[in-house]
Subunit: 496 residues, 2 copies
């Protein structure tokens, strides 16, 4: 097959009343000199105002159905679709109808067509008031006839159509064929919303005077002793993948950047095969110096979350509704200002509900979820902060509570009863940090560089790290984090 013929795989694609193929090939294939003035119209712009116009459209063949001398196509662009029709008559031959009927699903086609108003709304399409009467049709890129999964199966709500024997697609099949699964309205909506979360996160913090930083992912030492860390071959030595940007965020604070954030991958070599763990995820990280009280940090983070929730509610309703069609959930509720409970208050609520656990014990996942439900009942919010965790269950660099050595100036944040952020005021004094590391039996040699960062003047500071995929999953009320990671990584999945 020659390069020329291949360029747009047009050769198998000729189905036209008037043989416009060469003209089209021409405008595609020429170099810099010739460009076409043809304008492609977007599917969402097909409204009655366009009636009787002759337009060009590039779209996927979503479905095609021949019926006597006609072929009905549904043409799709992302979440939008429109009905199109080729009928034997003045403009189309029997051969052309047959050609159109044989175009494989998911192929990309260019069509020239008249926009026509319809009398009865087309309920199955996003563009309900018009259809396209096709004059010419070309295949730009042909899909293989056998698709590994059907889009309509992949968006079917669990249980729906079971009696009729309609299939749903299991998650591994979806992920194995992600390039097709991502075309579904549900996936398109999820990842557009995810893009929105990142934008809202950064815009809010930029307005608050934060500076974006880039931190290295290949690091020479694992700061918390080397557990759960991936090893990398690095020329003649070995290195690790960063479990969090924390050290680097803190160094930036010690280097006078005052308030910083970063968005980037975080790596955890945990063999956790759960609905909410990934081995690689995207961290939305914040660190800031504060003036007098670490609650200044909590307030900055919770306000950022509130701005994200508001931005999603106000600008991503279409996406939220789209996901809800397949995965129904209650709208996400939040308070302003954010509810902040102390750990002891949370424990008291759990005790009252019959849970037996000690004062300095960490929350188990079931207890976190239960507490989330109790908080929702009592305060009507899906988002809250649990403050002042027991010192014993937090990392060595956590600032102890000056008023009660059993507790610490640390906090977790929860959405729908699941943790999305862990954070704390950090110890900024090299001597106290050394003492705490010794208490935790950490090898001082391995964290020397970390401790040394605080020897040349360090302001009091705190921060936290938010899991992007968890925020998206829990905001949308989904039940598996693989739905909100485009190409998820877990102990059993490294592809695609």
């Amino acid at each position: 097959m020659s390069v020329h013929a291949c360029l747009f795989t047009f050769l198998s694609a000729v189905g036209t009343v008037q043989g416009g193929v060469e003209g089209v090939l021409d405008s595609f294939h020429r170099g810099a000199e010739i460009e076409t003035d043809r304008v492609l119209v977007r599917v969402q712009d097909f409204t009655p105002e366009k009636a009787d116009q002759l337009i060009w459209l590039r779209a996927r063949v979503h479905t095609s159905r021949a019926k006597g001398k006609q072929c009905f196509l549904v043409l799709r662009q992302q979440q939008f679709n429109v009905q199109a029709l080729v009928a034997v008559g003045d403009r189309a031959s029997k051969q052309m109808v047959k050609f159109a009927a044989n175009i494989t699903k998911e192929s990309i086609v260019d069509v020239e067509a008249f926009v026509r108003k319809v009398e009865q709304k087309i309920e199955s399409c996003s563009q309900q008031d018009v259809e396209l009467h096709i004059e010419r049709i070309f295949v730009v890129s042909q899909a293989e006839a056998r698709l590994p999964l059907q889009l309509e199966d992949a968006v079917r709500p669990d249980g729906e159509g079971e009696e009729e024997g309609r299939a749903t697609v299991n998650q591994d099949t979806k992920l194995d064929n992600r390039v097709i699964d991502l075309r579904t309205t549900t996936s398109q909506a999820i990842f557009r919303l995810q893009s929105g979360v990142c934008m809202l996160f950064r815009d809010t913090l930029t307005k608050k005077g934060f500076v974006e930083i880039q931190t290295p992912k290949i690091i020479s030492a694992a700061s918390e002793g080397g557990a759960n860390v991936f090893t990398v071959s690095y020329f003649k030595t070995s290195a690790y993948l960063a479990q969090s940007p924390q050290l680097y965020k803190q160094m930036c604070i010690c280097a006078d950047f005052d308030k910083v954030f970063c968005v980037g991958p975080v790596f955890r070599a945990e063999d956790s095969n759960t609905h909410r763990h990934l081995t690689e995820f995207v961290g939305l990280d914040i660190e800031m110096a504060f003036s007098y009280h670490y609650h200044e940090v909590i307030d900055s983070i919770t306000d950022t979350m509130v701005q994200i929730f508001k931005g999603l509610r106000d600008n991503f309703q279409t996406e939220i509704q789209m996901v809800n069609k397949q995965f129904p959930s209650e709208p996400f509720k939040f308070l302003e200002p954010t509810l902040r409970l102390e750990y002891t208050e949370g424990l008291a609520m759990l005790h009252e509900a019959g849970v037996e656990m000690g004062d300095e014990e960490d929350l188990s996942t079931p207890n976190e979820k239960l507490l989330g439900r109790l908080v929702k009942e009592k305060y009507d919010t899906d988002f809250y902060v649990l403050d002042k965790y027991p010192l014993a269950v937090r990392p060595f660099y956590t600032m102890p509570d000056p008023n009660n050595p059993k507790y610490s100036n640390s906090y977790d944040m929860f959405m729908r009863g699941e943790e999305i952020l862990s954070g704390a005021q950090r110890v900024h004094d090299a001597q106290l940090l050394t003492d705490r590391a010794i208490h935790h039996q950490i090898d001082l040699e391995k964290i020397k560089a970390y401790i040394d960062s605080f020897r040349y003047g360090a302001p009091p500071h705190g921060g936290g790290g938010i899991g992007l995929e968890r925020v998206c999953m829990l905001y949308l009320g989904l039940h598996n984090i693989r739905q909100t990671s485009m190409f998820p990584r877990d102990p059993k999945r490294l592809t695609p």
Copy 2:
């Protein structure tokens, strides 16, 4: 040392006329209940309008100089600084002046002071019209007496003050002590500008309808045959670090996201010890479907670069001037629309300048630089595109030029004669891609998943990847990429 005493390392910090220490400790240490209403004023806000006000300030001791019964301090916040004075008199004892004089450089202090107008401008400070008359001073965090480098040495232009025996700081010392080096006005400016580049990149693309995506960094196969790739231990198997997000960007295009971008780390296991190579850098990546011609992609990318250049020119002049003080350079020039030359035109200019090289030969780094100078002379621009590279020097997935099989629909972009982006129209047809891979003798089994991505309908598309650190280095006219990477990674450096 008790936790309480350590919390703000206040104990060594008591130097006050009126013993206000306990009050301060109090407001720092209490929990949620008590917060101070003290307002900290920022250094840049010390102007004559504040004259005679009693204010609080937290800042670093930049320099301190005792002179008889007085001690002059320069207090610094990021790039701003102000002169402050403690003098023996009604409000300050001899002990207090001595205490102030002994505060180590880079310590963080809280001072209560009157703002006073000065008669003669203080040329050495950013706040030239006022000074602070200190009433009380507390050390919030004490720096060790011996600093690994002096900030004033680290910002000294090369060669300046050599006769007086003044030191400059070599780059390894700076990088080894990055937490101090990042405090210099030069570093502060560089990384604030870098943050701006990322913001401008994303904002421009978001306005153009691009969607931000997150791509995995741990991958199961090295797409280009496994050269220059870092290996990661992944549970019981091994994996690689992504050399670029290209496959994933392309999958998103095949999955109907239409136009995508991502910002994230890119890993190259090249043993290149040059001024412009890093083993880990930040990629600003773009991929988009186009309608009729891959120049639509070039136009989107060059317009994005132009928006970045304009945004920097218009909003980051302070930072640019700050860097120029230490590293003088010509202002960065660009044209609108961007200059696009074909490879053969570039070659002709080089031939004319006496360079001997073949038509299908790649440009060497010296020839790239020479061509950059020739282009600057002829067109007065520091930014241009070189289009239609010889097919032979580009990767297998590059779309051949349909008009001339010796060339390809690919391009590089240059700033000040150095490459900052490499990109191309990609082959979107599985069969042609297979043919091209065979031609390049690539093991088809290893790239099966990649090729399969194009089997279910793929639109014509192209893109490119921009190196963030290179853009910052070349825009600012710097000469080493380690200056624009906060924590650079190269074959010899993995720390801090």
